[in-house]
Every structure is written in structure tokens, then in C-alpha cells.
Symmetry: C2
Subunit: 349 residues, 2 copies
DNA sequence: TTGTAGGCGTTATCAT
DNA sequence: ATGATAACGCCTACAA
């Protein structure tokens, strides 16, 4: 080597200040800086002040990737939902984002498109990142997914429904009970020939349908011929089409329980177009109680579900668990409530 | 040191196979394994086969955190939207997720809640992660945000609207022109006293309002007293309330351009309740052309916007740019289309 | 309470 | 085309 080694050792980084720079400026070791950031209590007040000043003067911010590599923990909380279009999940996500608030955690959002296989793929990717926590939708994971969740080494929350045998924590409600409850209300209002229209028919839809069946079975009024379902994604226009088909096949039905509110809205529009009197000629009930249900004319009955709360609560449980706080209740049933309105006031005598 | 050093050097990892394990098994060096994964072309076919076999037999998967640290690039693409509840963004996100498909990139989703300051905060967090690309909503970033975007060292796409001076790339349309176009249609249908109701009034809403003004100014029919806006979040019930207020103050309006479809639906419901004939007594137009607009009774006119395509296209441009492909067009105007339906058929003579 | 030493798993650099 | 070496920035383990 001729001449002389210049001082610049080869460095690849973009030159942002590192923890070593802060340590040098503050006259302490790197680990002390690290502690000031994560465990201020374990550093003497004096040193802490110096270090904090150095951090500010350099504008130092920790590198999340280096932190994740060294600690085998990222600040990412993985969330998998089956749909982004379904406004049900928009509310859930809003709750999650509100809950995560100013915390350092980031939401990594996966869209499984209602496919357990896709969920499995996403889970494989997510777990590689060593997330701080994982939140998944529903309780019907594939065996492989379940294994990944169990071995992820982080808190796991299953949301949207409750059931036996949680992986870790759970926040939801019973779709079967909710379906049964709204159908009981229809019966109580005097409807006797109650149809069902459903789209997508994911596991939770299936359980709502089960509730419908149970309720009608108990009343001795079950009739499989007026249950109409499709695997197609739910939409307002599909609600219209399904009701139209249904009425052409079974003109004598006197009420319809729609698997969700989009379908119910479409059904209502179809009734308006065909001059079918709601609720006297046909009772209409939806599911989820989206905001528009109360505004429709006639206003539409539905089952209120606590979507925002499921998001908020599940994220809070996840974060609490990550931070080592004792989560007292590991399975939370948020329940539901009937929102009874004009559309199910009862048949004309 | 007494006795003998056991072979187990202290290792903290969970024992998942590393690139070194693969290299050992394949009888090559670690860097060769790395190359097989990222630049198969630079490795001889023979070695590549061996290495690939070793990878499979060990079930090796690279650690994204280590990769991000070493390469100063994560597989994360940061996306910031102002709302998750607004179904407009649900469609945009669906397009993005479809576009990202089987690629290795992950979407890190931030919710700015329509706050430029919150967007700034999120951008600070996101850029720390050295994302592969960033996608932000709108063109009204704060100066600090803009600086971060410019210095992020990755492709940037601004979406939802077009404008001068893009940070990097842009996919959107002109909200002003769209607003002007639907109002021109109302004029052409014979409406003369056209009101405006708007919620949230974010920058894009403002520009739609500007289009409304421009159109009416040109016709000499502008009237500030029938423009009704609120910063409150948009909703169906708000549409009902705004229209009710508006009609009580200005009963002689003959049409209303609603800032978005939720408001339009609420307005329609209010008309149904008050037995106001749409479109003869009152023309109603919305914005975005959500799926329900065509199903409503009467069907509702709106402005079709290509939300899914904005998501799909912006993500494709981002990924192409990341992968070094030449992105020919850096500003894409996806335009809009009028969806003319029953609700604006014209006033009764 | 504070510091030292070394590892986390991968990739960039430079040499062969 | 392949490899040795160091660097990426931080954290854990252990020592003082």
C-alpha cells in the first residue's frame, strides 16, 4: 500500500447517523444509547440527558431493519383480512389503526381474498419478518396456517368470530346466534315464509345461514327451497338479482333475511322498482347494520355488529401482549344487537 | 478454559437454516447462494442446480430483515391513503393488491386520516425502512413530506389526481374537469338552479367544487347561496341532512350535485321520504359511480372514476421502476366518464 | 449502572 | 464465474 491509507474506511451506508455516532458525541458506549431509547429507566439521569441531547443534535433515528435483525423482532404487526372492498373490514381496520395510534408498531396488511391458501402464503411471508404480533380473520385456518401461527412466537389474535380452541386470543361474536336472532325477530313480527339470500358464503356467512335454519327449524317453518345462495362476491346489484329470482320462483315468501346489508339494499331497490310494499308485502332484514340502513326509505332492519371495536380491541390485545402486559381475557365475545326498523314491521294482515 | 470447547458456538437465532447452511451443503460460498437467488444468470448452470437443490432440501428462505440491512432496501412498498372507510380507497387498494400479485413486494399501508401532518409522520416512519417504492394520495403534500419523497431514493407515485410538478410519477385525473363535466350535463338536461352539497372537503373535493363553479359561471347561473359544505366526514345520513337543510333554505333549487355517491344516496332517500320527485322536481348527481348507483331507484347519475385502475396502474409503475424498467409515461391521466341515468333526466316542464 | 465482545443473516467490494 | 472479507446498524450476553 503506497502513500497512506486515507481515513475513510469503506462504508456503504448513505451516511445517516448511527448509534455509534451518537455514542461518540455523547461520550458513552453504543449500548447506553440503545438503552436510553428502549429502557430509559436503566440509565442514570445524567447520562440520559447527554445522550438525548446527542440524539437530537444529530437527528438520529434507529434503523428498523438493523433493529429487527439484531433482536429477531420487527415492529410489524401482520394483519390478514379476506377483503378490502367489503366495508365491514374497512371498519375493522379503522379500529385497528386508531388503536395502534402513536405506538411504534406498523400494520402490514395482507388480503387473502377469502382464500385459505392465499392466507397460508401470506402467513409464510409474514412470519419470516418476525412480526411482533399477528391478527387473522376467522377461525378456519388451514392446518399449515395454524401451525405457523402457533410457532410464530408472537401473540396471535383471531377476529370476527368466536369459537372453541383459539390459537391464542380471540375477539368476535357468534354469527350463528346473530343469524338466529334476526330470524326470530322476523317470526315474532308475524312473518311465516322467510327466505334467505346470501353471497360469497364464506364460513361466517355459512354460520349465519345455520342460525337462520336453526331458528326456522325450531318454529317448524323451514323450507330449503327458499334459500338462495351464490359464491359470487356480494354486491347491491346481486341483492337485486337474487331477490328477483327468488320472487319468480317463490312468489309467496313474506320476508327475506339478507346475508349482508349490500344485498338488503339491492333487495329494497328491487322492491321499490317492482312496487312491492316493504314491510307489508315483504319484510327485509340485513346484516351488519351499515350506516345507510337507518337512512334508507323505508329504514332497514339489520344486526348491528361491533366491527370497529373488534379492530380496536384485537389490536389493543395484541399490543398489550407484545409489551408483556397480562391479557386477562383471551377470548372476547363482543356480541351483537338487533337494529329493528321499518322494513320488518310485520306483514299486512 | 477447561475441558474443551463444545462445538456449539453461541447462536441466538431460532435455528432456521441460513445462507451459510445452504452454502455448506452445496459446497459453495455464501455469496454464490445469494447470487443464485437474486441473479441466477451470473452463476454457472451446474452450480446453480446444486445450490437450488440444497435450498430445497433445507427449506431455506432468506431473512427479509437481514437482506434489508445488508442491501439498504426492503421489499416494502409504502402506501399512504387518507381513509380506509371511504370505499373509493378500498377499490384503489384492491387494484394495488391485484397488481402486486405474486411479486415479492409487501404493501405497508398507512392511514393519514386526511391529515397532511399525519402523512408527514407516516412518511418519516416509512422512509426509515428504506422502502422499494412509495405511493401517496394526492398532490398536496407538506414541504417536509415532499422533501422526504424526493430524498427517499426510490420510485414515488402520487395517485388520485393529476397536476403540475410531480415528485416522480403520477396516476390520476382532473377532479375539476370531472366536476365541471357533470354540472354541464345537468345544465344540458335543463336544470337551472343547481346546488352543491359536499362533505370532508379535502383538496380533491375542493377541486370538484371549483369545476362546479366554473361550469355555472360560464352559464351565468352561479349562486353561492346554494353551495353547502361541511368538513365532517361524508356519509349517507349526512347526505340526507344536507339536502334537508338545503331545501329548507332554498326550496327552489331544481338539481343538486353531490360531492360523492354516499351523499347522493342519502339525498335520494330524503327525496323518497319527502315525496320529492327525482328527477322531475329535483335532479340528483353523485361522484365516483359506486356500484349501487346503477341499482338505485331511480338509478343515480354519477361520474365514473377508474379507482381500481389507479391502484393497479400506480403499483405497476412503481414495481416496474423498482426493477429498473423504463417507465415511459410518468404522468398518466386516466380520465373519467359520465354515467348518466334516470336521476338527471331533466326537470318536469 | 455501564461497557466489551461478538453475533444477527445477508450483500457489496474487491480480488482471483 | 467464484470467493474472501468486511460491512450493514443494532442488540444480547456477559463482565466489570
Amino acid at each position: 500500500m503506497r502513500i497512506a491509507d486515507r481515513g475513510n474506511r469503506k462504508r456503504r451506508g448513505a451516511g445517516r447517523p448511527t448509534i455509534a455516532d451518537v455514542a461518540r458525541l455523547a461520550g458513552v458506549s453504543a449500548i447506553t444509547v440503545s438503552r436510553v431509547l428502549r429502557n430509559p429507566g436503566k440509565v442514570s439521569a445524567e447520562l440520559r440527558t447527554h445522550v438525548e441531547a446527542a440524539i437530537r443534535s444529530l437527528g438520529y433515528v434507529p434503523d428498523p431493519n438493523a433493529r429487527a435483525l439484531a433482536s429477531s423482532r420487527s415492529d410489524v404487526i401482520g394483519v390478514i383480512v379476506p377483503s378490502l372492498t367489503n366495508s365491514v373490514f374497512a371498519d375493522v381496520l379503522r379500529g385497528m389503526y386508531d388503536s395502534i395510534g402513536g405506538s411504534p408498531y406498523q400494520i402490514q396488511l395482507g388480503n387473502s381474498r377469502y382464500s385459505p391458501i392465499e392466507e397460508e402464503r401470506l402467513l409464510a411471508i409474514f412470519t419470516r419478518q418476525r412480526p411482533s404480533a399477528l391478527i387473522v380473520t376467522g377461525i378456519d385456518q388451514t392446518p399449515a396456517s395454524r401451525t405457523m401461527l402457533e410457532q410464530a412466537g408472537c401473540p396471535v389474535v383471531q377476529i370476527m368470530e368466536t369459537g372453541p380452541d383459539p390459537v391464542d386470543m380471540m375477539v368476535g361474536f357468534s354469527h350463528r346466534d346473530a343469524g338466529a336472532a334476526i330470524v326470530s325477530h322476523l317470526l315474532q313480527s308475524g312473518y311465516r315464509k322467510i327466505a334467505f339470500i346470501g353471497a360469497r358464503m364464506d364460513p361466517r356467512s355459512q354460520r349465519r345461514l345455520q342460525g337462520y335454519r336453526d331458528s326456522l327449524d325450531a318454529a317448524g317453518l323451514a323450507d330449503p327451497s327458499i334459500v338462495m345462495t351464490t359464491p359470487a362476491p356480494s354486491s347491491v346489484s346481486l341483492g337485486r338479482d337474487l331477490l328477483r329470482d327468488l320472487l319468480s320462483r317463490a312468489p309467496d315468501i313474506d320476508a327475506v333475511f339478507c346475508n349482508n346489508d349490500d344485498l338488503a339494499l339491492g333487495a329494497l331497490f328491487e322492491c321499490q322498482r317492482s312496487a312491492i310494499d316493504v314491510p307489508r308485502r315483504l319484510g327485509v332484514a340485513g346484516f351488519n347494520d351499515l350506516e345507510m340502513m337507518a337512512v334508507a326509505s323505508p329504514s332497514l332492519s339489520s344486526v348491528r355488529t361491533y366491527r370497529y371495536d373488534m379492530g380496536y380491541r384485537s389490536m389493543k390485545m395484541a399490543v398489550d401482549a407484545v409489551q408483556g402486559q397480562d391479557v386477562e381475557t383471551r377470548v372476547v365475545d363482543l356480541g351483537f344487537e338487533l337494529a329493528i326498523r321499518e322494513s320488518t314491521a310485520g306483514p299486512g294482515k
